[in-house]
């Protein structure tokens, strides 16, 4: 304490004290907004196309192979920059903004469906997370792998490290990007096709095993374990 007071009395050290005071003022008064460094992660423009163009209240119809139809209606659509920060000794060092969008649908059969996209933070790519009737998967576009599964039968996730993913739980489910998909009702170019291939022993006939998403349109087809499939009607 005495040495601090001595240095304060030393005129030659006043610029140092002034610097410290200015630094404290700058970092404390503005709260978390005044970080030393800011970075923002945005969607890759191409990946953003997997989010649909629907608005809240929009509906579409899926008809199954026995001619029974259900409608899916968008009931939620939110977009924001997700904020996170790290700090050292009370000083915010890095403020990070991550672009995020979430779209939610409910069907007239009581089924829930959602699509969300989170901008990737290197080394990871943009993260697309899709759920349909309880079966959810995350797809990393840069690594081209299913990185996590969240289902009524269990949860699997790859471990994220500085260098990429590690594999504590092997995930057998796959995603492939198809050039096109033809249904009796329409032809879709560029379709993301998810195949569920984990927890097979626990499935029932009504378990969703395949999901097809068309760019900007969303869900266009699903297949259930019992063989029933539904396709979007136009």
């Amino acid at each position: 304490m005495e040495s601090i007071l001595r240095s304060f009395r030393n005129f030659r050290l006043w610029p140092v004290w002034q610097g410290i005071i200015v630094f404290i003022l700058c970092t404390s008064c503005g709260g978390e907004e005044n970080a030393l460094k800011k970075e923002t992660f945005y969607f890759n423009e191409y990946h953003a196309g997997w989010i649909t163009l629907d608005s809240i209240g929009d509906s579409y119809v899926m008809t199954d192979n026995n001619g029974i139809s259900q409608s899916f209606t968008m009931t939620g659509n939110s977009y924001y920059l997700n904020k996170s920060w790290s700090s050292f000794l009370g000083v915010n060092t890095i403020m990070t903004y991550t672009e995020y969008q979430y779209q939610f649908y409910t069907s007239s059969f009581g089924i829930s469906h959602s699509i969300s996209l989170t901008a990737g933070r290197p080394p990871f790519g943009d993260d697309l997370y899709v759920t349909l009737n309880g079966v959810g998967f995350a797809y990393d576009f840069d690594f081209a792998i299913v990185s996590r599964l969240d289902t009524p039968f269990g949860y699997k996730s790859m471990r994220m490290t500085d260098k990429g993913y590690e594999v504590p739980d092997e995930i057998h489910s796959r995603v492939e990007i198809l050039d096109s998909l033809v249904t009796p009702f329409a032809r879709y170019d560029e379709v993301l096709h998810f195949t569920f291939n984990d927890f097979n022993d626990s499935w029932t006939d009504k378990t969703v095993t395949e999901i097809y998403l068309a760019r900007e349109e969303g869900l266009v087809k699903y297949i259930l374990a019992g063989g029933i499939y539904g396709e979007r009607k136009r």
């Binding site: 929009d58 509906s59 001619g67 029974i68 409608s71 209606t73 007239s108 059969f109 009581g110």
Partner: protein, 195 residues
């Protein structure tokens, strides 16, 4: 010191006065159990399966889970109500919506019969005492090639909140001998009782 003592006394009195709110006189209402006659108006039996055919030909069977009970509830703060209630859930053997019925006493005289098909809710005007005006009693209706007498044709309560393009049950035909005879969906598809 005396001043502090007065303050503490004041705080103590305030705590005593505010901690115990004035007691209300509990009003107990007992609407009674549902009568057998009222329960039989929904003719589904627990554990049984009931078949329907979709307009495109698919047959779907619904397994019935029916529970009857008397529950005690509170209305506002001081009114305790005991009333009979009966829940029926019909679960399909096909990827489709559930159907269900809820019967309960709204007072000592009136009984509510409510049906749900997916997200559509229908009030069935089965008792003379309670009819909100969503249904009509028809003398006879032909369903699946067979004539049924005394059929209620009912539209749902929530049709006004439907968004364009949604496919929901929009009309229900019901009678007390066979239960659901038919229901149509907004897209034109329908389900009929299996003959």
């Amino acid at each position: 010191m005396e001043k502090i003592g007065k303050y503490l006394l004041g705080i103590g009195m305030w705590a005593v006065l505010t901690a115990c709110p004035p007691r209300c006189d509990l009003i107990t209402l007992d609407f009674g159990e549902l009568s057998g006659e009222v329960l039989e108006m929904v003719p589904y039996i627990h554990g049984a399966s009931y078949g329907f055919r979709h307009s495109a030909g698919q047959e779907v069977y619904f397994l019935v889970d029916r529970q009857n009970s008397v529950i005690t509830d509170f209305w506002e703060e001081c009114t305790q109500v005991t009333y009979g209630t009966d829940h029926t859930i019909m679960m399909p053997d096909y990827p489709l919506f559930d159907m269900g019925f809820w019967i309960y006493k709204v007072d000592s005289i009136h009984v509510m019969h409510q049906a749900t098909i997916g997200t559509s809710t229908f009030i069935l005007p089965l008792t003379q005492a309670y009819d909100p005006g969503f249904g009509k009693l028809l003398d006879s209706v032909k369903v699946s090639g067979k004539w049924f007498r005394d059929v209620y044709r009912v539209i749902p309560l929530n049709s006004a909140y439907q968004t364009q393009g949604e496919i929901l049950a929009d009309t229900l035909w019901f009678n007390t001998d066979f239960g659901i005879l038919k229901f149509t969906m907004t897209g034109g598809e329908y389900f009929e009782i299996l003959p």
